[in-house]
């Protein structure tokens, strides 16, 4: 009886959503966005506007038609969410920074490419195991190089700028994908304590580098992801508490002995008193977020767009003001749904690697969204992290799509040849 009930429930949540209808609705939404930009004249070059949206919508449809029609995939929840969020980000960039529309489009294409490549890599667990070490080494190297030759932007030295600013890479974003990859792959075959020690060492080095770069937001994200993965593997809450306590104490120590670090957080809960100084961006965000109301002012009608880093650090406010608080809340709910999706699919995953990777990736995205939204609205200290998929930026776009691949891979139906095994 009980078993039957369980089976029934499992069946019900595996039922894939009907993607053609949703995709059509999403396309309509994106066309409306494009039309609004056109009518507002915020993107002066009509060709740019048409090309960006035409390419994006085409890629969307091609992806769905190839995967749905040719590869016979059935569930598309992750892609629908990713395309929906990316579309909002693309709309904002096209409208706010007309010159950067093509760059952002290229970033999105790269992101989708990363997603596809990652899905292919994740399809073979042996490949994953083989790649584990090289990826770990590359990740540490990338961070180390950034530490040495990196450029300081907004107080965090986490950018590598090549060729006079032609190409700028935020290595910490790329390492996020590697972090989840290495973590899940290491913990998959946990034969010896040695491999666990190696992973803890890897995590420690990564987080340490980020700390030295003064990129505290990303360091926190890594730490949180590390905790999630360590817990999933060991189930040992006591040790985790110990780690957290040590981290908190360590953080408190840093804040005490390095006053310049504490200074970064001194506007926390005091943004209105510093409305023209250090709290300027946040105050602007709050004012314009509520100015948009529940339904938004429409794309191009906002004022937050004129504030520095509007589509990056303040992306949430941009969505609030121009798309409305309802859509902004919906955007945030999608991050919750990614975590719920991963939890629900964890049991049916092909191996614990997929479960851990998906759970870690979705928690990472949720945690980052939380830091972004609650930080910029002054409910938590502001760390200046981006809003996944929506904030402008190539590195972060690739990172988000890369992480989405982990979540996608948890569903056995992603890899068709395992379907038969699963059924038998």
């Amino acid at each position: 009886m009980k078993e039957q009930k369980k089976k029934k429930r499992r069946k019900s949540y595996r039922k894939p959503v009907k993607w053609p209808f949703l995709l059509l609705m999403m396309t309509v939404f994106q066309i409306i966005c494009a039309l609004q930009i056109h009518m507002n004249g915020t993107q002066e070059k009509t060709t740019t506007l048409v090309v960006v949206f035409a390419v994006y919508i085409t890629v969307e449809w091609v992806y769905f038609l190839v995967c749905g029609g040719f590869l016979h995939r059935k569930s598309f929840e992750i892609e629908l969410i990713a395309f929906f969020l990316t579309g909002i980000g693309l709309t904002l960039t096209t409208s706010v920074y007309p010159d950067k529309a093509y760059t952002q489009l290229a970033a999105v294409m790269l992101g989708i490419l990363v997603f596809s490549v990652m899905l292919w890599i994740l399809g073979d667990i042996n490949r994953v195991t083989k790649l584990r070490m090289p990826v770990a080494i590359l990740a540490v190297l990338a961070l180390a190089v950034t530490l040495v030759i990196g450029t300081d932007i907004n107080g965090a030295k986490n950018w590598i700028i090549l060729g006079d600013g032609v190409l700028s890479i935020q290595t910490s974003e790329l390492v996020k994908v590697a972090f989840v990859f290495v973590g899940a792959a290491t913990l998959e075959y946990l034969q010896s304590t040695r491999s666990l020690t190696k992973y803890i060492l890897f995590a420690g080095v990564c987080i340490g580098c980020l700390f030295l770069m003064r990129d505290f937001g990303t360091a926190l994200i890594f730490f949180f992801t590390f905790i999630v993965m360590a817990f999933l593997r060991s189930g040992d809450i006591k040790t985790l508490f110990l780690i957290c306590a040590t981290a908190v104490l360590g953080g408190a120590g840093v804040l005490t002995f390095k006053p310049h670090v504490a200074k970064r957080f001194e506007t926390y809960r005091h943004v209105w008193e510093n409305a023209t100084g250090s709290g300027y961006q946040q105050v602007q965000l709050l004012i314009y977020s509520v100015s948009g109301g529940l339904f938004g002012l429409g794309i191009g009608n906002g004022k937050l767009r004129y504030v520095y880093a509007a589509t990056e650090d303040l992306a949430f406010g941009m969505v609030c003001e121009e798309f409305g608080i309802i859509i902004a809340m919906t955007v945030l709910l999608t991050f919750v749904s990614l975590v719920v999706y991963s939890i629900r699919y964890a049991r049916a995953a092909r191996s614990s690697f997929y479960s851990i990777a998906a759970l870690a990736a979705s928690s990472l995205l949720l945690f980052q969204a939380a830091l972004h939204v609650f930080g910029v609205t002054d409910l938590l200290p502001w760390t200046g992290v981006t809003l996944p998929f929506i904030s402008r930026g190539g590195s972060s776009m690739m990172c988000c799509w890369g992480l989405a691949a982990f979540i996608k891979a948890i569903d056995v139906h992603t890899y068709k040849r395992y379907d038969k095994i699963g059924q038998s």
Binding site: V290, L294, G324, L332, V336, S352, F367, A369, L379
Partner: protein
């Protein structure tokens, strides 16, 4: 795998925490939306600190007091009207806190949490707001104050409509003399941003005798037949309450006519602390009142540490007692209205961008301040004051009832002149209007405040009389 999926369930904790955070965020947005959106940094509504997205402000006749045109806030064409209505209209920068441009800025812009400032962008302006005041009447009252500081308020005591609210000093809003105000040493601009009618408090002086009288009517059975002696002062416990005249032996009505301090000090002593305090409590002393969204300064009456001599002084409106002019107008209005006060209103209606009326002032009953019989008796006494003492010639054809006050504010010889008060109302059926006049350091109530009241009330008769 089983253990792993069980552990995965623990990730619902961060998911739920995130949802809780979203609820908190939404709640924070919802509760702070009005405050945040109205900040001067909001360039949807403000241009260099000036509220431009507000709708029109008109007086009761529909005359424009403020509007936005060509991206600038513009005001009435007449300088005297601009100056006289400065404090009720307020400024777009928010210096005058009780002005409707500040206290009603949410309504004026038409901001709502659901629509944000969308309608303002769509229509290019906010909601229109019609005031209860008559601009011409305000200008007349302002002029009547002459060179003195002070305030005049006139209210329809049946409906609560404040037809006149003016406060002096003021300035022409079209060119605020910010330098003069900042460097003012003569006191010419003292409290210029304050609407004295709503935010001022003054020693009531003899106008308080109306309240002492009310208490006497309620609590002293033989007050009408009592004859008390005035020798120019009344001695209490070694000190004395001085009187402006030597009135000899006189009764209640005559004592109020001539405003005999000795008489009322003795009445106060007969009443005692408790009963006098009970009367002031019923009138709303030590209570917060609001006129729409505007908060009145609190009138205070406190005898908790008073000696007998202090009680005597309190009975004639001195001691520590302070009264807000608008509150005093409500009290006088209640007497005229048969004991029940009406809630005064300053904003007559608010109309949104599509022409729909979103707020309409209604007549609301306020405190039951006096019993009907007490109110009637007070009406007779106040009518007697004008008829038998000030003279109807001072208020031609107005059938006024009233009481003057000369509130001492300095204990030194040659110190500041007293505040001159007049409170009263017309008994004409077609003129249900009550008035309060305060002239700061103006001198005697009958010589200074009565002419101001007369000029204002004559204009009221001209505007509303039949």
């Amino acid at each position: 795998m089983k253990t792993l999926s069980r552990r995965a369930w623990l990730l619902y904790i961060p998911a739920v925490a995130f949802l809780a955070g979203l609820c908190i965020l939404f709640y924070t947005f919802y509760t702070n939306a009005d405050n945040w959106s109205m900040r001067k940094a909001n360039r949807h509504l403000y241009t260099s600190g000036t509220l431009i997205a507000a709708g029109n402000i008109t007086d009761e006749t529909g005359a424009i007091l403020a509007k936005t045109a060509d991206g600038k806030r513009q005001y009435n064409e007449s300088r005297s009207i601009r100056t006289a209505t400065l404090h009720v209209v307020g400024d777009a920068q928010g210096f005058i806190a009780t002005g409707v441009q500040t206290s009603y800025k949410d309504e004026l812009t038409g901001y709502t949490f659901a629509n944000g400032i969308y309608d303002i962008k769509k229509y290019g302006k906010g909601n229109d707001l019609q005031l209860a005041v008559n601009a011409e009447l305000c200008a007349e009252a302002y002029k009547a104050l002459g060179n003195n500081k002070g305030t005049v308020g006139v209210m329809n005591y049946r409906t609560g409509q404040l037809v006149c609210v003016t406060s002096k000093p003021a300035y022409d809003i079209q060119n605020r003399p910010s330098q003069d105000i900042a460097n003012d040493k003569t006191g010419e601009y003292e409290g210029v941003y304050l609407n004295r009618f709503f935010s001022g408090v003054y020693t009531p002086g003899s106008t308080f005798k109306v309240i002492t009288s009310a208490s006497a009517i309620d609590n002293i059975a033989d007050i009408d037949t009592q004859k008390l002696k005035c020798t120019g002062a009344h001695t209490i416990d070694g000190g004395s309450v001085k009187c402006l005249g030597k009135h000899g032996t006189l009764g209640f009505e005559r004592a109020l006519n001539v405003s005999c301090n000795s008489f009322f000090a003795q009445v106060a002593l007969q009443l005692g602390t408790e009963k006098l305090t009970a009367t002031t409590d019923a009138l709303g002393f030590n209570q917060n009142f609001t006129v729409g969204k505007i908060r009145l300064a609190k009138s205070t009456f406190d005898l908790s540490a008073a000696s007998k001599l202090d009680l005597g002084w309190a009975g004639i409106g001195q001691y520590t007692t302070l009264v807000n002019p608008c509150h005093m107008l409500m009290i006088v209005g209640a007497i005229a209205n048969g004991g029940t006060s009406v809630q005064p209103y300053l904003v007559k209606s608010i109309t949104n961008q599509t022409g729909k009326t979103v707020l309409e002032a209604k007549t609301e009953a306020g405190l039951q301040m006096f019993s009907a019989s007490t109110a009637k008796k007070l009406q007779e006494l106040l009518r007697s004051n004008v008829e038998n003492y000030y003279g109807d010639s001072k208020f031609r054809k107005l059938e006024m009832c009233g009481k003057t006050g000369t509130a001492e504010v300095s204990t030194d010889e040659g110190g500041d002149k007293p505040h001159a008060w007049f409170v009263g109302f017309s008994q004409r059926k077609d003129l249900p209007y009550a008035i309060v006049v305060v002239v700061e350091n103006g001198g005697g109530g009958s010589s200074v405040a009565i002419p101001v009241a007369n000029k204002t009330m004559q204009k009221v008769a001209e505007l509303y009389g039949k």
